[in-house]
């Protein structure tokens, strides 16, 4: 009887721990949102910061989605900007094509779903052949994918008229549209006139949704299977887990979440082109994940926010801006991974933890006395 109670206690405390971890992330996001709202309401916010709010949400979502691939499934993707690009283009195309025939909110929700779906499909298409291989092939293929998508969209022309959709990869003239036609994707000029539906509130809601998806996945049967394939592929196969399928699952979900980040990005700008979705952005997102701690969602959120806001906040330093930025990167890296720092942190945690524990014990004793 006592044994059973003991088991229940262990499981309960494990569940509490995971719950606490998840709630911490929701708490951080909601608290940050509340602070920003108060700052906006009281007018204590610079226009610079205000303009940064939606991009911050974009990068947080992108970092969380990449962490699902890098941290949870243990693969490396160097083309996450490519998936953002697909989400951005498909959703912006949809929003422009539909125009005012739908009210703003339902249209934007549909746009998000479309962006996520297309990015997810591309994730599956890339994942099916590549994730069968052992090794870092995914990194190479996604790197190429990001560049290919960018270049393809650079020469893509598309429009809509009474006959439906027209596509061309040569010029706007080749679309052969009726006089009532509207050109939406204009080659290297991209898409302009996308409705600016992205708001800070929607961005935060999308971050919460992303967190729910990623965290609930990690703490479920299939999430465990994904992490098992990461920790030991051979052992995972030996207990009957289809490794490729679960790597693909993680990659597809991650790609569609990156697509969502792209949708949010596209609906925040008057003009959308492929310049922003290059190799540098993919690496930047990876930097957020690595500096935040691989597999650590809280870290990804904080790193994305700090490292996106920092260069903007440091603008007054002019030429020294990027120098400071680089130093901050190095300091964070040391704090996260240097043995001395790890040691210090674990000692601090122990101190805090044991203090907490002994206080509890004292309380318990007092209860017993009274």
């Amino acid at each position: 009887m006592g044994e059973k109670q003991n088991n229940i206690d262990i499981i309960k405390s494990m569940r509490r721990k995971t719950l606490r971890k998840s709630m911490l992330n929701y708490g951080i996001v909601i608290a940050a949102y509340a602070v920003m709202q108060i700052m906006i309401a009281t007018g204590n916010i610079s226009s610079l910061l205000k303009g940064l709010l939606v991009p911050l949400c974009v990068y947080v979502i992108a970092a969380l989605s990449l962490n699902l691939v890098v941290g949870i499934s243990g693969e490396l993707s160097l083309g996450h900007a490519g998936f953002m690009c697909i989400g951005a283009y498909t959703s912006a195309f949809f929003s422009n094509a539909v125009g005012n025939t739908l009210p703003d909110l339902p249209r934007f929700i549909l746009a998000i779903l479309i962006g996520a779906a297309f990015a997810g499909v591309f994730g599956i298409l890339i994942g099916i052949p590549v994730l069968r291989l052992k090794g870092d092939y995914l990194a190479i293929v996604t790197l190429a994918f990001g560049e290919i998508i960018k270049n393809l969209l650079n020469v893509l022309y598309a429009g809509i008229d009474s006959h439906g959709l027209h596509f061309s990869t040569t010029s706007a003239m080749d679309l052969h549209m009726e006089p009532d036609g509207r050109q939406i994707i204009k080659g290297a000029l991209g898409i302009s006139g996308t409705p600016k539906n992205s708001t800070f509130t929607i961005g935060v809601v999308l971050i919460i949704v992303t967190l729910i998806i990623v965290q609930n996945l990690i703490n479920s049967r299939n999430g465990r299977a994904i992490m098992a394939t990461r920790d030991n592929r051979i052992a995972a196969e030996s207990i009957g887990i289809p490794v490729t399928r679960f790597k693909l699952l993680a990659f597809a979900i991650s790609a569609s979440l990156a697509g969502v980040a792209g949708v949010l990005y596209a609906h925040n700008l008057a003009t959308l082109n492929t310049k922003k979705f290059d190799y540098n952005t993919s690496i930047l997102i990876l930097v957020f994940v690595v500096l935040g701690g691989i597999g650590n969602l809280t870290g990804s959120i904080i790193a994305a926010v700090v490292l996106t806001a920092l260069p903007e906040m440091l603008r007054f330093l002019n030429n020294y801006r990027m120098l400071i930025y680089a130093i901050v990167l190095i300091v964070i890296m040391l704090f996260n991974w240097a043995p001395a720092s790890l040691d210090l942190r674990s000692r601090l945690r122990e101190k805090l933890f044991s203090k907490h524990k002994s206080e509890k014990r004292e309380e318990g004793e007092q209860d017993g006395n009274s």
Partner: protein
Amino acid sequence: MAILEVNRLSISFGGLHAVDDFNLSIEKGEMYGLIGPNGAGKTTVFNLLTGVYKPTEGIIRLDGKDITGKNTIEINKTGIARTFQNIRLFKDMPVLDNVKTGFHNHYSYSTLTGILRLPKYRRVENTLDERSMEILKVFDLDKEAALLAGNLPYGKQRKLEIARALATEPKLLLLDEPAAGMNPYETSELMETIRFVRDHFDMTILLIEHDMKLVSGICEKLTVLNFGRTLAQGITSEVLSDPAVIAAYLGE
């Protein structure tokens, strides 16, 4: 009827006959030992049985079903689970989750159920936790359930690997050098555990081992391999007194 039936199993890598004309028949509930000097092909036999390698020749039957040439995942689903010579745990996951992962194909719900936390999620997770704790209890690991698997001491990691394999509810359990790196005390404790597993789970066990005390202590039958060929086969005490076996182990 024999639970595992292996006929004329062979595999060659290039010109090397790693396993040649290997025959084996294990009855249900039997404790069977596979021994031999280093490089004799013992682990290769395990890899053939679990589908890591495809045999160049021969047939493997589990419980009457032909499993020759199937992949590891299918073979595990049919009923063979194994442990590894060099421990392969999911190191960054808690001890409990290692066992829960073993139940993967027995208690399932969809990805969406997991993400949306539908009622089925709670139900299945409760059962999983309960059953995993039961297995951990058998191996005296229940108190360490919340620790990361990689932080367990060596002997317990070995036990956890067996626990995880048992969670797949196999008909046949393969143990690859379960006592490797253990001190005599740990080894005798492990012998007790293996015996208990056989009785408690009604398990058939095939094990590779170098520790002769363990082999003679718990194995009812033995097969001795040398250079990929079967040197002797039969009742443990008879095999171990076979002059050819003694020669292979001690040299002539």
